[in-house]
């Protein structure tokens, strides 16, 4: 399938290696295989990873920032395929995912982003919840399609494992590194305002690990209170009007410090 799987890595150690093995395995056992599996990081880290994983993996050597948003923007700019999908190194696809995406692309080629239903699991592999299933319900106007109205009501749609059209991602302007936490939400808002279509496929396509020590999600959970989370959502809503990053240097200042 004409798709590049992008695995962003910002550090490498035994723990990362352990999870990465499972992640890559989940790509290789797809019923329909992607054309390219890639890892994006700086050269130093990539060289370390190559010693353990070299077979059929493309390495994107990022000379810039290893911040998540920058990694993704860089990797997507290097893609030669029509579609890309981001795989967290500690996550896995289910084996049916790309087969189903391919089927939906055949019947709905106008869609720019295909999202899976994601199972969120804890470090013991136990289910915590499902996400994106809301888009299949009466919550949205056209069932299966995430539109502006549903994004305004609900900010937690997950793009993990989603399949994006490369050209559309770049046209929309990619991710903004000035936004913490809600950068994907901001991207989705920007995408729908440019009339891009986002569809949720009713298949469990991705398993996302929540609660791993050192993960971005855990970091946000531990360091951000509700006020800060609401702040970033507000920033995302504001910035979504602009294609280009405005380099505003947003920073949350707790109320008592103001």
């Amino acid at each position: 399938m004409d798709i590049t799987v992008i695995i962003p890595i910002h550090e490498y150690n035994d723990t990362v290696k352990q999870y990465l093995t499972l992640a890559i395995e989940s790509v290789k056992t797809q019923q329909v295989e992607p054309k390219v599996i890639s890892i994006v990081s700086n050269k130093e880290i990539n060289d370390q990873i190559k010693k353990d994983f070299s077979e059929n993996i493309k390495f994107f050597n990022n000379t810039g920032s290893l911040k998540y948003q920058d990694q993704i923007n860089f990797a997507v700019s290097q893609c030669k395929t029509k579609y890309f999908s981001i795989l967290g190194f500690d996550d896995t696809y289910t084996e049916i995912w790309f087969k189903n995406v391919e089927k939906y692309i055949t019947h709905y080629p106008e869609i720019s982003v295909y999202l899976p239903i994601t199972r969120i699991i804890d470090i013991n592999g136990e289910d915590i919840q499902m996400v994106n299933e809301l888009a299949l319900s009466y919550f949205v106007e056209e069932r299966g399609i995430i539109d502006r109205e549903s994004l305004e009501k609900y900010q937690d749609f997950s793009v993990n494992g989603g399949v994006f059209r490369v050209d559309d991602f770049l046209d929309v302007g990619g991710l903004k590194n000035s936004i913490e936490l809600s950068f994907w939400y901001e991207f989705l808002l920007r995408a729908v305002s440019k009339s891009l279509s986002i569809m949720v496929i009713p298949r469990i396509g991705y398993k996302h690990l929540f609660g791993r020590e050192g993960s971005m999600a855990v970091k946000y959970n531990e360091t951000m209170d509700l006020e800060e989370k609401l702040y970033w959502i507000k920033i995302a809503t504001k910035e979504a009007q602009y294609t280009k990053q405005r380099n505003k240097g947003y920073k949350y200042i707790p109320k008592e410090k103001k």
Binding site: T94, I96, K99, N100, K103, Y104, H107, I117, Q129, M130, E133, L134, L136, S137, Y138, F139, R143, G144, I201, P202, R203, I204
Partner: protein
Amino acid sequence: MEDKKKEKIDRLDESIKKLKKKDFKIYFFIIDTKGAPNGSTQYIYTMAKTLHDLGYNVELLHQDEDFIGVGDWMGEEYASLPHSFIKAENIKVNVRDFFFIPEIFANVMSQTKILPCKRIAISQNLNFISEFIGFGDDWGTYGINKAITTTNEQAKDIKELFPFTEVDVLNPSIPDYFRKTEKPKKLEVVVLTKDQSLFAKIIKQFYWKYPLLKWVVFPDVRGLPKESVAEVLRETEITVWVDDDTYFGYNPIEAIKSGSILIGKVPNVIPEWMYDESGENLNSRGIWFTDLRDVQKIIAQAIFWVMEDRVPEKLTEEMEEMKNLYTHEEYKQNLEKLMGKYIDERINELEDIKDKIK
């Protein structure tokens, strides 16, 4: 005396000639369902329309001054068949005509006893035969000795009740617009049941028992025209069906032909198509259950099967078999053959009458 004999024989000859040229009427007595979809009515209209398409003169008779008809749910091509409002005792027919009377109209069977045409009962639900017939009466009392029914099982049952009745089986046809599509389906569940409170109960209890699946949509197809129902079934992954009293089961067949996974409660009389080749066990064309308390669990299971792409192959393979069953093409051929048989038999009867006159 001889002149009168000759006149009768000439009239019979005339009728026989017209029978051979399809120059006669076929009447169907119908009830107005007031726009509510109904399998039995669908069967009769399908028969009338198919005969009409085969070149026969059909007419549907009713006794309802405020007749609404089937336009809304079966479509204009059925609603526009010739209809007449008439009281049974005022029907004017010819010896070469045919008159089909549904089993619920025992009163019409009685009132039309003296008519010269050939009268044939249409029986689709055995319960209706005994419900409307008077104590001490039977079809023989009304001069009915021929019947059409929808399944072999029903034919056997009718013969047990009325051994003197010749029963022909004409399996119903399912309209061609109940068909699959290659397009991906929506993960939604349609519930098909005549019982309105059961409809609500199945859905509400599902949401209570499975809050994790409270996002699942149950589209409501009640009151929709058949073609619209077909569209919904074509788009929907799962259909639940409950009808204890059916003898044939139009709805589940329509769902299966539309590619929707069927979760069906086994009715009191099990339709033939639900059995496997042995004729003793249920097949895997649907997921069958007997206890209503299990239905929500089965719905949840089916939803996860779909989400995880692990719907059993046996189920999908056997569903595919339904594609070639109860097609309109097969039905048309069977009906044409049956009508041909009735015409031939009628010609023979009239020839016999002629011989007796001579």
